[in-house]
């Protein structure tokens, strides 16, 4: 059975990609909120924010906006997975001679594609708004790699939510705290302007290290130790949520 893992995953990924193709609004809605935030912060609030650097504000806040995009995009994975479980199609797949893990992987890969598309739209709008970077191809690849890792980590979290949700609302509600996490980080303002405990939280939560790394890569500055902290967070969340997701999936099958 394992010989078909790749083929089955490919067929099932094709299926859920078709869902996205037929309702491209999911990609657009994912991109709309971050774009609105970006407009708000750059043209309304940004003028009053002192980031302590010479970078334009759109350059400063784009990394955080990209993470918000992904955090809101993965909610659709939980939603689609939940709908599959609700309808009988999930059971049909489970009763067929296909690799069982491919059902989950198809949703994860689809999430990756959809989120990268949304991220590309947001970057496009940022470019129109004056975002500029002299980042090398290698730096861009590093940014893409971190964003992919971040998407995979959060998507497996979304798989847990999709598998264990009791209602459609529950399936997507888990993403709200994730969307807000960048606000209590270095994404929009430097953390040293925050009061002690908040600053401590902001500096030690995953978003700050990821934002700082991407910002440094775009600004062609040395990333320092941040990149390792960022990677550790992403891989850590990925491994733990993958483990939980698979355990829940197995238990559901018994």
């Amino acid at each position: 059975m394992t010989t078909h893992v790749l083929g089955d995953t490919g067929v099932l990924t094709g299926r859920s990609l078709r869902h996205i193709l037929r309702s491209p609004d999911t990609i657009i809605t994912t991109a709309v909120t971050p774009i609105a935030l970006m407009l708000l912060f750059v043209y309304v609030l940004g003028g009053a924010i002192n980031t302590g650097s010479d970078e334009s504000y759109v350059n400063y806040m784009l990394p955080g906006i990209l993470l918000i995009t992904i955090a809101s995009g993965i909610a659709y994975t939980a939603y689609r997975l939940f709908l599959d479980l609700q309808g009988g199609i999930f059971e049909r797949f489970q009763s067929m001679p296909i690799a069982r893990s491919s059902v989950l992987w198809a949703h994860v890969l689809t999430s990756l594609v959809a989120n990268l598309l949304s991220v590309a739209i947001v970057i496009g709008v940022a470019l129109i708004m004056g975002f500029r970077t002299g980042a090398s191809v290698a730096a861009w690849l590093a940014v893409a790699g971190i964003l992919i890792l971040f998407t995979l980590a959060l998507t497996w979290l979304a798989v847990i939510a999709g598998l264990s949700a009791k209602t459609v609302d529950g399936a997507s509600a888990f993403s709200y705290p994730l969307i807000f996490l960048p606000f209590i980080s270095s994404a929009f303002v430097p953390t040293d302007t925050m009061p002690g405990p908040v600053a401590w939280f902001a500096e030690n939560q995953p978003v700050t290290s990821i934002v700082d790394t991407i910002r440094a890569l775009f600004a062609q500055e040395p990333v320092g130790g941040d990149i390792w902290i960022a990677l550790a967070w992403c891989v850590g969340i990925l491994v733990i949520s993958y483990g939980f997701a698979i355990a829940i999936y197995r238990r559901k099958m018994n």
Partner: protein, 272 residues
Amino acid sequence: MTAEAAIRVQGLQKSFKDLHVLKGVDFDVARGSIFALLGSNGAGKTTVVKILSTLLKADAGTASVHGFDVAARPGDVRESISLTGQFAAVDEVLSGRENLVLVARLRHLKNPGAIADDLLARFSLSEAGGRKASTYSGGMRRRLDIAMSLIGNPPIIFLDEPTTGLDPQARIEVWQTVKSLADAGTTVLLTTQYLDEAEQLADRIAILHKGTIIQNGSLAELKQLLPAAKVEYVEKQPTLEEVFLTLVGDDGTNDADDDRDRGPVPAGKESR
């Protein structure tokens, strides 16, 4: 292996937390026959089907399907079966044809497109094949669902309450499909809460009640147990249905609904 029963269930037990759903279920299903598992809601019919189709694991007892133990060789069992669950398991976003192609690909068959077209024709869905399944009526959706289950010609098919929620015409279409399956040698295990459905279709009927099989036999054998009650119920029910079908059937054929646009196989009694 051919002489062996297609499905053999012995001492099957299953609990969900405190709820003891199956308390030792035993039955055999002969190859090529239609076997009905009859029971009220919550009797455990779906649980039996889920265990046999490897979606659930039994707490105790053994079950084998097509000669394979469901616990020890679930992969071989899945190769030999198809499940049509209680809710039509179609992808609403995909078209009918895409649904069929999807299943053919997942069964690793050659020419998935040709298989899909053939089944669309057999189930009178050719015209609707390009439309999203979400636009289908209940009967069409169920036909598509059953068509998806036939891909790869599995020797054993499970139908879990295949006609629940269908109108009388669609119900008859499903019955005819089931009969033609059995005629072609497929073993069918169906669950139902409708007495007339079991009566119409099944070679053998087992009544599942409170977690055990309380009776198992042919219709004639079961009738001998409680003739009066059975006959009274069965005779009343078809009368209204016949009235309905006669009233609706004759001038209803020209309805715009594709559901009634039926072709050769699952045809109702009226001709087009």
